[in-house]
């Protein structure tokens, strides 16, 4: 069960979709590209409804799915040639350049390609017609680190023009911190939190302090550990906690930045029990 989801995306933005397995990330992307039909509501892409009988809106989208599928007995090159017929803006030069950069064996049959190479082929198909919106469902899974960095570099280059947007799902957290501008946390098919990456980093802190008595439960505390009089809390709104701690007379208060990976893990670990403001 997915939704209700209200989501709009500005050009030049990379939206990272994060959530536990089964949260609805893949389903959400499949609804956007039209592989699944939503029971209720409306999906508009660049102002046009994603009507399956008027597919012009798909010209502006590049999609890399969870299971890349091709004409399996054809070579990668033949698959590219086949897909190119459907996109007026397809660039053979760009497809060829990307194949070189990703070291994709174009003469191999699709069925003989490794998982990583299948995703690379899918990425080239998604990128060669210069779409305005890229939907990437774990595009770097199964890739070696060198190609993964190459893929991210290509995505950065795409974003340089400022008129394109990406919706990106991944379980590789360092990619989130490098690539995305905004994060959407999906849980049980619903948006739990949508937040700017900078805001997230600025508001979340790991705070340590000394305090002799039991601490009154604060709002915005995601986790709390205590060893004797030493406490450690992770907060999603650290200025408020700091004020409260000072009022209580806590000593040795120190706040430490958390990486996007740490914050994401905390949010995902907490599931529905984490109170996020």
């Amino acid at each position: 069960m997915l939704g209700p989801i209200n989501l709009d995306l500005e050009p030049g933005t990379v939206l990272g979709l994060v959530g536990p397995n089964g949260a609805g990330k893949t389903t959400f992307l499949q609804c956007l590209i039209g592989l699944l039909r939503a029971d209720l509501g409306e999906i508009t892409v660049f102002g046009r409804p994603n009507d399956p009988n008027h597919p012009e809106w798909k010209l502006d989208i590049g999609y890399v799915g969870d299971i890349p599928v091709f004409w399996e007995c054809w070579t990668a090159a033949k698959n590219l040639q086949f897909v190119s017929q459907f996109y007026p803006d397809w660039s053979h030069k760009k497809a060829s350049e990307l194949a070189d950069r990703f070291q994709l064996p174009l003469k191999k049959r699709a069925k003989d390609l490794s998982t990583g190479n299948r995703i690379k082929l899918s990425l080239i198909i998604a990128l060669a017609h210069s779409p305005k919106l890229l939907l990437l469902d774990e595009p770097t899974s199964g890739m070696d680190p060198v190609v993964r960095v190459e893929v991210l570099d290509v995505l950065f280059e795409i974003l340089e023009t400022g008129d394109r947007a990406i919706i990106y799902t991944t379980h590789i957290l360092p990619e989130i911190s490098r690539l995305v501008d905004e994060l959407v946390f999906l849980d049980n098919g619903q948006i739990r939190l949508r937040v700017n990456k900078e805001d997230l980093v600025n508001r979340w802190r790991k705070i340590t302090f000394r305090y002799g008595r039991d601490v009154i439960p604060f709002q915005s505390v995601v986790s709390h550990r205590r060893e004797g009089n030493d406490h450690q809390v992770i907060s999603s709104d650290f200025p408020m906690i700091l004020d409260q701690l000072r009022e209580l007379g806590a000593e040795n208060i120190q706040d430490n930045y958390m990486s996007i990976e740490e914050i994401t893990v905390q949010i995902l670990k907490g599931g529905r029990n984490v109170e996020i403001n």
């Binding site: 039209g34 592989l35 399956p52 009988n53 597919p55 798909k58 799915g65 091709f70 004409w71 017929q85």
Partner: protein
């Protein structure tokens, strides 16, 4: 759609060659020996039932719908593309059979033979159309448990069984059975041996195929082309 059809013919060049060799072998035999129409038509019909089902469940084709549905192609075009094979291959088979009979009979074929051919074309369209309709309807229901259960255990099996039994029965009822004086055989056989009967059957088959194209547009999922609902 033509791009897809062209790609399909390029992709399946070896199976197509094998299939065409067998069909040509059969029809050439008929044009030389004559009188084999019924036998050849039965072989073709059963082969179409078996291979049609087998090809639909072939994994590459089953999943390829995922790729095609992400391309800027309308659902109607894709629906037509998926029915196109049934229409062209079977019509071609029957047309070749007709030509072979024309050769073996040295052009002396009565109109009843035209009705006979139309009946066979209509029978397969009805059979294949019902099978596809069951499949497409299965993907039209919402991903909710009660809907899926009703579809999986009642509608899908009913349509599939109806297609198999109905298709076979209808086909065998339409065989020229002068020595079988049973009621349904005689009545149906008399009916389809006329212009109205045979043309009506063909029209009904085409309507079911067209219905498939329409239902295809209303699928809720294009993740799989064909599935067993259990």
């Amino acid at each position: 759609m033509w791009k897809l059809i062209k790609a399909d013919s390029e992709y399946n060049v070896i199976p197509n060659c094998i299939l065409m060799s067998i069909i040509l072998g059969l029809v050439i035999s008929n044009s030389i020996l004559g009188g084999m129409e019924e036998t050849i038509a039965i072989i073709m019909f059963i082969a179409a039932m078996i291979f049609g089902g087998g090809m639909a469940s072939e994994s590459a084709k089953n999943k390829r719908i995922r790729m095609l549905s992400t391309l800027p192609l309308s659902a109607r075009e894709l629906g037509l593309y998926y029915q196109w094979g049934t229409v062209t291959v079977w019509t071609l088979c029957m047309a070749l059979l007709f030509i072979s009979s024309l050769i073996s009979q040295r052009g002396n074929l009565g109109l009843e033979y035209v009705w006979w051919i139309l009946t066979r074309i209509g029978c397969l369209f009805i059979f294949a159309g019902c099978m596809d309709l069951a499949n497409n309807l299965f993907f039209c229901v919402r991903e909710k448990k009660p809907d899926k259960i009703v579809m999986a255990w009642i509608i899908y099996p009913s349509l599939s069984i109806a297609a198999v039994i109905g298709g076979l029965l209808l086909y065998f009822f339409t065989i020229s059975l002068d020595d079988k004086p049973y009621w349904p055989f005689i009545t149906i056989n008399e009916f389809v041996s006329t212009f109205h009967g045979s043309f009506g059957l063909l029209l009904f088959g085409l309507i079911i195929l067209a219905l498939n194209v329409y239902v295809y547009e209303w699928r809720r999922s294009y993740l799989e082309e064909f599935t067993l609902p259990v």
